[in-house]
Amino acid sequence: MSRDDAATHTDDRPTPVLEARRLTKSFGHVRAMVDADFELMPGEVLAVIGDNGAGKSTLVKALSGALIPDQGEILLEGHPVHFRSPLEARGQGIETVYQDLAVAPALDIASNLFLGREIRRPGLLGTLLRVVDARAMRTEAKHQLDALGVRIPDVRQPVESLSGGQRQSVAVARAAAFGTRLVIMDEPTAALGVRESGMVLDLIRRISGRGLPVVLISHNMPQVFDIADRIHIHRLGSRVAVVSPRTHTMADAVAIMTGAATPDEVGGRSHFDERAGRRDRPGVQGEPTSRALPGPDGATDHGLPEQESPR
């Protein structure tokens, strides 16, 4: 069956930037991921939704090298990869904003942006003694934050002195600054108010505008439907459907997510628009093609051919 997958890839669809097949991970008796599939296409914003404990963070950690899956394979631009640490994933241009663990609060903004990859002084000082170039890091940090429109007066402030939104912006900016292939964000707006969430969402749009594909985990449905090109629905440790905000309502997505409806009942295989629009969908209220919110600017239709049927 994975051979079938490979065959479809070579057809007319682009290779996914990042793909995972049948990832499994158990913590003792807890099966956090069970045969989870994942697929991120070039340039898209892919939202990942699912109930608490569905295994979204576990999936993200497996994709970014923060944990090693028990089984399954991960393909980066079609090539198998085996990340043994976050460092290795970052070396491949995968940047992640982890849920709740994005920053070291006592460290200043510039130090946080460059944590683990400090700019060193040239020459022996830098290579042998690992002396850092604090000035260069500050300048570069300011530059990166400005480029993303994050307004922070002083990059020498400790991160804990910032508001929640600014703090999250720093974490997102770090991912944006170093991500060359894709950026993953695990609930970056979870603890934020409306205005601050908007700030972080704008940031995500800007990153996406640079052409970087983005994976966004969120529980906030209006946000997800606002910003995502496609929505990966996770339930009980695996992907149950991928839907499009153009063809599915929030109610559809929530129904699949909670198990109130099967993907087929709401047209879960139909995340490419044409078929979804035509599909007869008895038992689901609301127009199938109705949208709760206006679409994201420049949302593109990837025109993907039919995907394998979700497990």
Binding site: A66, S85, P86, L87, R90, T96, Y98, L101, A102, V103, A104, P105, A106, L107, S111, L115, G116, R117, E118, R120, L129, R130, V131, V132, A134, D146, R151, P153, D154, R156, P158, E160, S161
Partner: protein, 337 residues
Amino acid sequence: MTDATAADPPPSVPGPTERREALGRALRNPLLGPLAALVAAVAIFTLTTDTFATAGNASLILQQSIVIGTLALGQTLIILTAGIDLANGAIAVLGTIVMAKYVVGGGDPLLALVLGLTITVVLGTVSGLLVTRLGLPPFIVTLGMLTVVFALARLYAESRSYPVTDPLLRFWGQGTVVGGVRITWGTLLLIVVFAVFWFALSRTAWGRHVYAVGNAPEAARLAGIKVSRTILSVYMAAGALYGIAAWQALGRIPNADPNAYQTANLDSITAVVIGGTSLFGGRGSVIGTLIGTLIVGVLRSGLTQAGIDNLYQDLATGVLVIVAVSLDQVSRRRAAR
């Protein structure tokens, strides 16, 4: 200040904003409190006693602070990683005995030093490995190490002490007289090791990783920092510092005694905490520890000069520790909001 844009200045405004930032940073500087305490203590004793504010007394305070100061430096490194070392005094004492016994037995003094330093580094490494490999709490590990190493020191010393006459081992107690004030080489060494670790902590990638690991270990790991290796390196560096403290101790009192420095572990923690380093890890500085060490030295000296009983000195130090820890707790809570 005459700054029109008080509420939300645009980032491009020069002069006043930057000056205010600098002022804000200075006021937020956690060294401010300890420094004020030190200055206040010196001022009070200068005013209330005749004998305190003399060059000779200053020199004496420094000499008395050297061993605890060096131990406290190692302690600072470990506390920055959210650890604690209860065994540092015992490790240093074993170091002094290894050095002294070897020389008393006719061994080469240089080799004695190498042996002593090796043993302290090895013991620091053992603590570090127990903490990182087995994931045991540093408090428990070093409590065990304290008992084991203290017993080892007495066994190896055969419950006697070893007077040292060798000039190399006593080197840090020697010194020179500048303008009538005696400055020991040990005092200079203390300044040098503090400078070295100040630089390492504040100017190198290693130092940043030490803070990150103590402040947010999981975030540090996810940022690609090798957390265990960083923590282990800290225990090894501390072990080396305990070796230096052992050598310093033989300069200060040229007699290796297995029962010496019994309260050095708590004294070093006191100096670290009074210096503003957080017992929860990730916050603090070696400059703070230097100031903390001096505060304890000044208090002891000043209260002695003022003719106040030893017990009151302990009382004063204890109160300072509680004040320092409370301040830390308050500022952490405010930061966590």
